[in-house]
Amino acid sequence: MTEPGYSPQKDGSGALPPDAEPTDRDLITRARGGDRAAFGRLLRRHQRRVFALGVRWFRNPDDADDLVQETFVRVWRSLDRFDPERPFVPWLMTIATNRAKTMVERTKSAAEREELDERIPWDGPSPHEDAARAALVRDVNRAMENLPEELRVTLHLRSVEGLAYREIAETLEVPIGTVMSRLARARRRLKERLAEHAGEEERT
């Protein structure tokens, strides 16, 4: 990930010094002290995750953009409440999830919520992937879109963010048993969808 405005210092050997890539914790500490650039780096490092979660949640990029904005404004305001001993990403996901829930509540009555047919922007990690793998990535993400909201968000937190069941339970404020049953249901349905997809492609 490139970060405009950031140029790592190099020492004489040409190797990066150990602090070339500051940890989230370092950046948060600096941001708390008023270091705007540090917060900017934190934002640029993690905005994609929040955006990705937002796309899973809202299934459209505009609302996902809004989620990124609301989440990071909230993160900035809450920096001093963050326990630096704990990992940042689950905390970020918790804030993002709360914001997303609020946004869903807020927009339930909004008329514009009708069409969700915007392009959902998902890519594989690199253009060098082989075609079959790229197709799988596309199919899996399309299958995800057809899952109910709670299933796709739960599976996203597990498969994409790699959160532990306990962390997902805390983030979504549901019992661990619910997390497990959601994951099982999500995977069962994902597998069925993928099988349908494979069947369709073989027939054509």
């Binding site: 955006f51 514009e112 990690p125 799988l136 990535v137 497990m180 994951l183 069962r188």
Partner: protein, 426 residues
Amino acid sequence: MSANCHEFEERLAGYVDGELGPDDVRAVEAHLATCEACRATVAAWQEADAALASSSPARTEAEWERLASRVETAIDVEAERLARAEAAVSTGAPAAATPPARRQSPRRAWFLGTGAVAAAVLVGLFWPWFSQDAHRPRGPLPASPEADSRAPADGSDDLLQKKAEGTRSTEISDAQERLRALGYLNEQEIPAPAVGADRTRPLEIPETVPNPEPTPAARPIDAPAKAAERRDVSTSTSDDVRRWLAATAPPVEAEGKARSLESVPGSVLRDEAAPRMLAAPPVPPDSTISIRALRRAHEAREAGDLATARAGYELLARDFPGNAVREEAWFSLTDLQTAQARDSDDLATVRDAARSLDDFLAAFPTSVRREAILGARVLVWARLVELDPSGCVEANRRVAEWQHGQEMIPRDLGRAVQRIQAACAR
């Protein structure tokens, strides 16, 4: 798949996720060794997981940078708001009594330390900015320290505490927070005999009801399509804002302060005199200028120069590309219009405010200001139906929209609803 397999399903997931204890792992592996169907299931899940994990939203670096800049602008706006709240605290008086020289720049907020910011947020809820125009003709507000001491230590901003409180009360406190930010709640919590007497006195209904047929007056603001408004970047607009900035007289000290802060390396504020930075994509060049213009408009409002403030807000609200600034400007505009309209006898003024509030909701359907705007609409429509009872259906629709999901009715708004009912019963 045997009946046995069904029992294993959840544990298979736990197995894939590495969440099982050693006994369960052994049990699952023993089963997998004998069951081809479950092996296939595990393989499929792992494959899907890997595909998901390797997926990423398709965007260019420039798009990511634009989003990051937008967020930073939103934080500038937030910092500005917090700093203004902090300024109100530091003087122990309402912001209206604070000279413009004391205005904090966004940069200042970063230096405050977030502890102070948290305190400022709390007190900022009671910052009676919204109501100042309504109050000004009747004399100053009661001293705010009293109000400050009444600030509930509910930490409504505190996410963790929110979780502990449960979602329901969180929503209510969110709604309260926004109403407070608008000045609705502090009016009932600050003992203000003069103002209170004013508010409870029966409203005089004008003898003639002007214009029973609502005419679609020229819209003060266009509410363009959601997608278009976010993406349009018009350089002529930022030129307009520059011209407006140049044409309005800044409070001297405030401007000097801003300038010196801009020379801080890595400052939030980028000097408009540095055209290279302004021109360099992908950072939107307009965020700095718009933040400054927004601050200038706020300052004008506090100095009592409502015409200048309104012109600035309208300029920024119309089609300025920075979404956060635009939203804040438009919100400030509706705020100002609501303050003017709620007691106004001029139907056009009240209609304009009502329309502006509707347009805000159309333009920013997911705004955090939504509840506040819905509440403001009730206040404005209460006045509107008193002047023009033909709007009763519309007014009641807005009451219903505001009440949707609201369990607590602030007294001021409750009174507005009663006024609507009274006006419509005739």
